[in-house]
């Protein structure tokens, strides 16, 4: 099994690692028994994600997908970030080995978990948006 150059780059030089102290929303997914946990911090202003940071316990692709996911959502509106799929994250990394696709699912779930927290708290949850969170019920981990 070999990773793409992009996966290795995002693993060796992860973007946006850390915490946001005054984060608007956070989402944690995964569990240590399965060997990966992702924690996503979002700073949201006027429905725009102005900053995103992550912390991940996991393998190379778990760290790389977290890093890529933060890059893909910074500057986007929350509704734009909501349509981010695990496939898009994997494609942006020039693909992941088949056994590692669950890592990209975890990255999508982490973003969505934080957004769910945000929409709920701000009273912005609508039936349309609610539909977008189905992946959080998937028990990949």
């Amino acid at each position: 099994m070999e990773y793409s150059k992009k996966v290795l780059d995002h693993f060796m030089n992860p973007r946006n690692v850390g915490e946001i102290e005054d984060a608007t929303a956070t989402g944690t997914v995964g569990n240590p028994i399965c060997g990966d946990i992702m924690k996503m911090y979002l700073k949201i202003e006027d429905n725009v994600i102005v900053d995103a940071k992550f912390k991940t316990f996991g393998c190379g692709s778990a760290i790389a997908t977290s890093s890529m996911a933060t890059e893909m959502i910074i500057g986007k509106t929350t509704d734009e970030a909501l349509v981010l799929t695990n496939k898009a994250v994997a494609e942006a990394l020039d693909g992941l080995p088949a056994v590692k696709m669950h890592c990209s699912v975890l990255a999508e779930q982490a973003v969505k978990k934080a957004l769910y927290d945000y929409y709920q708290r701000e009273g912005l949850m609508t039936p349309e948006r609610e539909k977008m969170f189905k992946i959080l019920d998937d028990d990949e981990h």
Binding site: Y3, M12, P32, G35
Partner: protein
């Protein structure tokens, strides 16, 4: 810390790589390469053929067999060439099971065997055999009393490895073999990791069968050996021609058999010195890692341990990411993390010694060899704290621990004998 890591990464680009995965495989040594290439060039005959080229090949094959037999202190007709250690294990288990199906259908093995044994046992279970998988203690040791207690009237085989490939624990197989002999139950031991590392004489160890592999011994991949005590009935595994006494058909891999014999000769010759040398390097690594990296424990037994094996768990981080960073720093190592296998479960050996999955995921195996040096150990001890620190800073578990919301499983001072009771409590 990060600056230091960046500097080490740059330096690694110009430094020779450090191969620290000798339990996975070894590079064929020059003497072995020499005899193998000479054989391939000059002795191409089929040992079964009735003319000069065949006789020559047959002579070389039998010479290799008798050399191996003498180095193991057994008879030549007790040595059978196979294609690998896995084949030897499969043959020992299935051959014994099929030969004794009318006598009994119960087999005893352990939970921490190599997959070549475990999956053979599982395959036999699907065919109506019953298998007892013995537990091991927290060091990975099998209790000979447990073997004795598990022996039944219908037990047809006990299979316990000589030394574990992941955690390096050396099992009391001499004692287990004696118990088996007393109860007249054949005893097989997978000696793949042990051969060349510790003295192996199957008769002294009371083994009726032992499996060995060439490529763990500085011979090429593609050759293994099964020792089978004369008189022990074993069903054929490969049917066909009359090779290997009619017990293992298929034209013999003469060149590699000769290579195996050469490799074993060299290994036995250097064993005492190498064992001493590698044990010293091993203990430098174990002590150095535990001292430099907080929340780190040794896996396996501190002293009943292969001279070349280091296996540690670093809490709060995951093994594959450790391997990737070490690879970038020029080190080839291995891990029992799920992410380095195709399954989602961490190593069955680490789970078998009672480690919670969250700790098993953060394991690292370093296995030394003849090429390993003090300089390599120094280099490794320089970088390992940087690697662990880098990954811990990224880990939400480390963050929770630092903030006091998560209790550590491995105490800060770590150690060689840290009892682990349970996993994280998130309630």
């Amino acid at each position: 810390m990060n600056d230091q890591l960046e500097r080490q990464l740059k330096e690694a680009e110009h430094s020779p790589r450090v191969y620290f995965d000798h339990a996975a495989t070894t590079a064929p040594c020059p003497e072995v390469l020499d005899v193998v290439t000479k054989m391939l060039k000059h002795v191409f005959g089929n040992p079964s053929s009735f003319y000069k080229e065949g006789h020559k090949a047959s002579y070389m094959l039998e010479d290799a067999r008798s050399k191996i037999a003498s180095l193991l202190d057994v008879r030549s007709d007790e040595i059978f060439f196979t294609s690998c250690g896995t084949e030897s294990d499969n043959w020992a288990l299935k051959g014994m099971a099929f030969a004794n199906a009318s006598k009994g259908r119960h087999i005893i093995t352990s939970k921490i065997e190599h997959h070549a044994v475990l999956h053979s046992a599982e395959a036999l279970e699907k065919r109506g055999y019953e298998v007892t998988y013995l537990n091991v203690d927290r060091f990975g040791l099998i209790d000979p009393d447990d073997v004795e207690k598990s022996i039944r009237k219908d037990t047809i085989l006990v299979s316990i490895m000589t030394a574990n490939n992941e955690i390096g624990t050396i099992e009391p197989i001499g004692e287990i073999g004696a118990i088996c002999r007393e109860h007249r139950v054949p005893f097989h031991s997978d000696g793949v990791q042990a051969l060349g590392a510790i003295p192996i004489r199957p008769r002294e160890l009371n083994c009726d069968m032992m499996s060995f592999s060439g490529h763990k011994l500085y011979a090429p991949k593609g050759v293994g050996v099964l020792y089978k005590r004369k008189g022990l009935h074993l069903a054929n595994f490969m049917d066909g021609g009359a090779q290997e006494g009619g017990r293992r058909a298929g034209t013999e891999n003469v060149a590699y058999a000769v290579g195996f014999a050469k490799a074993l000769e060299l290994a036995v010759k250097s064993l005492e010195g190498e064992a001493k040398r590698q044990t010293r390097l091993r203990d430098r690594l174990i002590d150095g890692i535990i001292q430099r990296v907080p929340h780190t424990k040794l896996n396996g037994h501190p002293t009943k341990r292969l001279p070349n094996n280091v296996n540690v768990s670093f809490e709060f981080i995951e093994g594959e990411s450790i391997l990737l960073l070490l690879d970038a720093l020029g080190f080839s190592c291995s891990s029992g993390s799920a992410c380095t296998s195709s399954s989602l479960d961490p190593s069955h050996v680490l789970l078998g010694i009672g480690m919670p999955a969250e700790i098993a995921h953060g394991s690292l195996r370093v296995t030394l060899g003849r090429s390993s040096t003090d300089e390599e150990v120094d280099r490794f001890l320089d970088v390992i704290p940087l690697v662990v620190e880098r990954l811990r800073v990224m880990s939400p578990l480390w963050e929770d621990y630092q903030q006091g919301s998560l209790a550590a499983i491995i105490p800060e001072e770590g150690g060689k004998d840290v009892p682990i009771i349970g996993g994280y409590d998130f309630s």
